[in-house]
């Protein structure tokens, strides 16, 4: 290994730590400090506000649904992408990445154009059957699914590619059905990748803002999620409440990362 001269080493160290400290660590610490500035009162006051409570409940529900849906379809699409050859496979693979790099606002708009009740492509007929998507929970779940879709797939695809299909073929030649092969062979080997994917998409789903803002209509106490509450509270100059709600969201997402970083090393052993 090349030895870096000591002053340069310190300079690089200082640059890296300083940049991260000023950009991430200090600001995050300040929010925690604001939340607990007068003990637990701000936090408990905010959490007993019915609109905040409802928003947190709604966020949890939407996130759970989105994660479950993404889990099922993410694994399905991953298997499709890795194990089967079909025309348009590269296109599908590219499209799967779209949600990661396209703006959430664009996602919201796209969903709005198709599913809104008055002028959307499918909206009016769905609404005629008593199923409202936009400004209701289904739309929010869809928006959240959209933005978090690639996370599970991107974790699972490399693992699936790496393990190959020798074991699956062996299982099949010994007479296992495709369902049995999946549950006994495929799933156990991609277990950790699926877990990371789920944790990451949970973090993403809890924090989705742009797309949900457009499709939810942002009605206080009805379709307002926790992230929307943060914006509203802040703009109404209830900064303490905004900080407290942020803290809850931040704590949840930091917990997700810590879980992931604790799980990671186990994989290599």
């Amino acid at each position: 290994m090349v030895e870096v001269p000591t002053p340069v080493k310190w300079l690089l160290r200082l640059l890296a730590v300083g940049y991260v400290f000023f950009l991430v660590a200090w600001p995050v610490a300040l929010v925690v400090q604001h939340t607990f500035a007068d003990g637990f009162t701000t936090l408990s006051d905010t959490l007993s506000d019915p609109s905040v409570q409802h928003a947190l409940y709604l966020t949890a529900m939407v996130a759970t649904w989105a994660v479950v849906i993404n889990l099922v379809f993410g694994v399905t699409i991953s298997i499709l992408l890795v194990r089967y050859e079909f025309p348009g496979k590269r296109l599908l693979s590219a499209l799967v990445d779209v949600p990661l790099s396209v703006s959430p606002v664009v996602v919201g708009l796209a969903l709005l154009l198709v599913y809104n009740g008055r002028t959307g492509w499918f909206g009016p007929s769905l609404e005629a059957h008593g199923f409202q998507v936009i400004f209701e929970t289904p739309g929010m779940v869809m928006a959240t699914c959209f933005v978090a879709l690639p996370l599970v797939i991107r974790e699972v695809v490399p693992v699936l590619t790496e393990i190959g299909d020798d074991q699956e073929q062996a299982a099949r030649s010994l007479g296992a059905g495709s369902r049995q092969t999946f549950w006994r062979i495929t799933l156990p080997s991609i277990k950790w990748a699926v877990v990371y994917g789920v944790v990451l998409s949970l973090a993403r789903s809890l924090g989705e803002f742009g797309a949900v803002k457009i499709v939810s209509g942002n009605f206080t106490g009805q379709t307002q999620t926790a992230t929307l509450v943060v914006e509203q509270k802040y703009q109404n100059f209830e900064q303490d409440a905004a900080y407290a709600t942020s803290f809850v969201l931040a704590a949840a997402s930091v917990l997700c990362i810590v879980v992931v970083s604790l799980l990671r090393p186990k994989e290599s052993t």
Partner: protein, 247 residues
């Protein structure tokens, strides 16, 4: 497949169809509108700037995380991931706590272009670090030692041996962070103040169109962003293929 079509393909098709529905002239008029142009220029400019910052600082951070050993390195490693997981609106609020009106630093950057840059730097921090780090870890030390034994200086080794190996990873990270910066919305809402012509970015502009009921204009602008996103994905795919071929 049906679910994927319903969720992703059809909405995106609708977006393009709506954008094209007004005809070429309407499309151009929307895009060349002064305020929209200002927003586009600001977004692209700041995103490029933040990408350059990320390439430099991200590589340094990855280097420190891989080659250096010091107290608290694991903490640094975890902190890098925070911007990725933190809800974007919270990211905005978090930055506002330090760089806003009553922050302890005594600087008030809210509603300025610095705030836009700051927010973008925050949300894109992990990308370069996380793409460069694994590559740097796997880089062969023997080659570096061979170069050193042949009399190459440290700078030469870095420039001729290490940097070429890292370039694809840096490029991939830069593309990701550029795409993310272009599309950023949540963290800017509170921080930038969204002043037209000064701190209004493209995403905010799209939202303004939607709230004004002008979906055609919103779709036009959104289609541009979609095109940029697709370009980045294709570019990434090409980089990865090249790396894979080189083995």
């Amino acid at each position: 497949m049906t679910w994927f079509s319903l969720l992703v393909l059809i909405p995106l098709a609708a977006l393009v169809a709506t954008a094209a529905g007004g005809g070429w002239d309407a499309y151009l008029t929307t895009l060349t509108n002064d305020q929209t142009m200002a927003a586009l220029r600001l977004t692209v400019g700041q995103s490029l700037l933040v990408t350059v910052v990320n390439v430099v600082v991200g590589t340094v951070i990855a280097w420190v995380l891989v080659r250096d050993r010091f107290f608290g390195k694991r903490v640094l490693d975890v902190i890098i991931d925070i911007p990725f997981a933190l809800p974007t609106i919270v990211a905005g609020l978090v930055l506002l706590a330090l760089y806003g009106t009553n922050g302890p630093l005594g600087v008030d950057w809210s509603s300025t272009r610095k705030a836009v840059l700051l927010a973008l730097a925050f949300v894109t921090l992990p990308f370069v670090v996380r793409t460069v780090q694994p590559v740097l870890e796997e880089l062969d030390h023997d080659v570096e030692e061979a170069a050193a034994s042949l009399g190459a200086g440290r700078l030469t080794i870095f420039r001729r041996i290490i940097l070429p190996g890292l370039t694809p990873a840096i490029a991939a990270g830069a593309a990701l962070s550029f795409a993310r910066a272009i599309s950023e919305y949540g963290s800017l809402v509170l921080l930038s103040g969204n002043l037209p012509y000064r701190t209004e970015v493209v995403s905010v502009r799209v939202l303004t169109f939607i709230e004004g009921g002008n979906t055609a204009a919103a779709a036009s602008l959104a289609s541009v962003m979609l095109a940029v996103a697709l370009c980045v994905i294709v570019a990434l795919d090409l980089v990865q293929r090249r790396v894979a071929r080189r083995g």
